[in-house]
Symmetry: C2
Subunit: 337 residues, 2 copies
């Protein structure tokens, strides 16, 4: 069933039905009523493809997710769900696209097939081929994380540098003089993953300012790696009494390794970092940490994307989020300072 059918049954022209639906032209109350009755009776809804073709817009966003090979973390998941939710608020749908691996066809379909009005790109690298592809395709996009030139594009990010700095200062204030950063994987760092790089720099810099000793280790995104990583820390730097981390997926392993080593938190060892609230609260004891506000980021990303779609020539805008660090029970004074 199509708009013509509705028009026929309501005894009006197709354009009148169209205008009655869009409200872009006044329609008399009587006709509007008649049209709506027919629509309700037949359960008519406009064909999205036809509308997209005529309007030149699809009311759909593309969401490029990290490769499924590297298991999606809890935050990433929450982010996907939040984007869908935020898009739904504006009556938009979300088309998912895996990236990396051999999924270039999927990405290309989305970028070049005019299937979407804009794209949200997760887990961006400082130099990212997908960003260049989108730029050259002239498709509006917002990245989660920013590229090398912050003014060049639209993005939403978390101020990892600032948050990590504050974590380090917090630990220094508590008397810790030997701390370690449990970063994300070597591969991500090597690939130029911004948050990991900024965390590293801020960590070392702030430690220097505070006059304390800092070590950094990279750790793959899984619990087993967390165990191995923590054991390596104990072996290499037994004097370390506190850790800062941005690696959520490794946390359960760190928890287990702490327990196995007979270390009490925060009595013997302090732990903090940038960790989603849910995970921080599930930790034992609850972690002093900065939240990764997936919901806020998703809403902001969608807002920025809509703004950009509305005016593609606007100068890029962005949001750097600095969530508060919530004090819980995982950090304490260094023992026998």
């Amino acid at each position: 069933m199509n708009i013509g059918e509705i028009a026929k049954r309501a005894g009006v022209s197709r354009s009148t039905v169209s205008y009655a639906l869009s409200g872009k032209r006044p329609v008399s109350a009587a006709t509007a009523q008649r049209i709506n009755d027919v629509i309700d009776e037949l359960g008519y809804r406009p064909n999205a493809s036809a509308r997209a073709l005529a309007e030149g817009r699809t009311r759909t966003f593309g969401l490029v997710i990290p490769p499924a090979s590297t298991r999606l973390t809890d935050v990433q998941l929450a982010f996907v769900a939040s984007v869908v939710e935020a898009a739904a608020v504006h009556d938009h749908d979300v088309l998912l696209s895996p990236s990396g691996g051999d999924h270039d066809r999927s990405f290309e379909r989305i970028v070049t097939g005019r299937r979407v009005d804009g794209v949200i790109l997760m887990e961006i690298l400082l130099q990212d081929p997908r960003v260049e592809r989108l730029t050259s395709a002239g498709l509006p996009f917002v990245t989660i994380g920013h590229v090398e030139d912050p003014a060049a594009s639209w993005w939403v990010d978390v101020d990892y540098a600032g948050l990590i700095s504050r974590c380090v200062r917090h630990l220094a204030d508590l008397g810790h003089s030997d701390v370690v950063l449990i970063n994300r994987s070597d591969e991500l760092v090597a690939a130029g993953y911004g948050p990991a790089l900024r965390a590293t720099t801020a960590f070392a810099g702030t430690a220097r300012e505070c006059g304390i000793t800092a070590h950094t280790v990279c750790c793959p995104d899984d619990p087993a790696a967390g165990v191995a990583c923590f054991e390596e820390i104990r072996t290499r730097w037994p004097e370390v009494t506190a850790a800062v981390t941005i690696n959520e997926a490794a946390l359960p392993g760190v928890q287990r390794a702490l327990h196995r080593a007979g270390l009490d938190v925060p009595q013997d060892f302090s732990l903090t970092g940038v960790i989603a609230d849910r995970l921080a609260e599930d930790f034992h004891p609850p972690l002093t940490a900065a939240d990764v506000p997936a919901g806020d980021m998703a809403r902001l990303a969608v807002d920025l994307l809509l703004e950009q779609i509305g005016d593609p020539s606007a100068t890029p805008r962005h949001s750097m989020l600095a969530p508060p660090i919530t004090l819980r029970s995982s950090t304490g004074a260094r023992r026998r300072a």
Copy 2:
């Protein structure tokens, strides 16, 4: 740029370009070459909306995910990623739709706007309004989990009843005479969530057959609930020496409660159930459990959906998966039998 532009530059008609791309009509090698050169030079890709309108199919699936309010579990997450991957293999895209809450508009858009060729429905209830909606809309769909009448629709499911039975027998064989089922939440059970119901029935039935005592508790999907739930079990039935669970999200809490109660696994307490391999292996000690094969289910669901789209009047088919129970280290003989 459109197909006409390509045609003009290649000196042929639009239809020839179309046929050169689809291969549905022979095209001379020379013209094909010329057309391809122009296409490569201009980076042309057909407009997806126009194609969908003309062909009457969108090459897109809808994936209806559980409400975001109840946090997505690890398996659900893996499943989403796997569906996208499986769809990509067939050059299809995936449109996400949240369900529940106030997301009916989103669901309706997808169902009735002809935005997708078919739908995959996660976390189905025994009586599910969305199933009826899709049926009445005449849109092909595959459910994960099955509805009351198994022959009525297309589905993929895990044989929870069979797996739970085998878990119970395994525990009985080990000498356990008092066991408990840690089910999913009260709400899900009340809503008629199939796996939870079938697990309950199979658990009680098999325990009766084996002549052992069985208790069942419902537990919300989160670690804190897992702690509370296990403590309740210890209080109400201190004689219980083994548990079967299908609640992955509660596992970390169960782990913590076991530890807090000073119970060694499997020395003092045995634990098994239906748990994704990754989680089972991350447990301490690794869990004897049946995997939830998210990847297989996703691929099967996509295959079934494509089959149904190809022949909408075909009689419904389905797949009941019975993954093996992998013996690891979390089950042992009952102490002091």
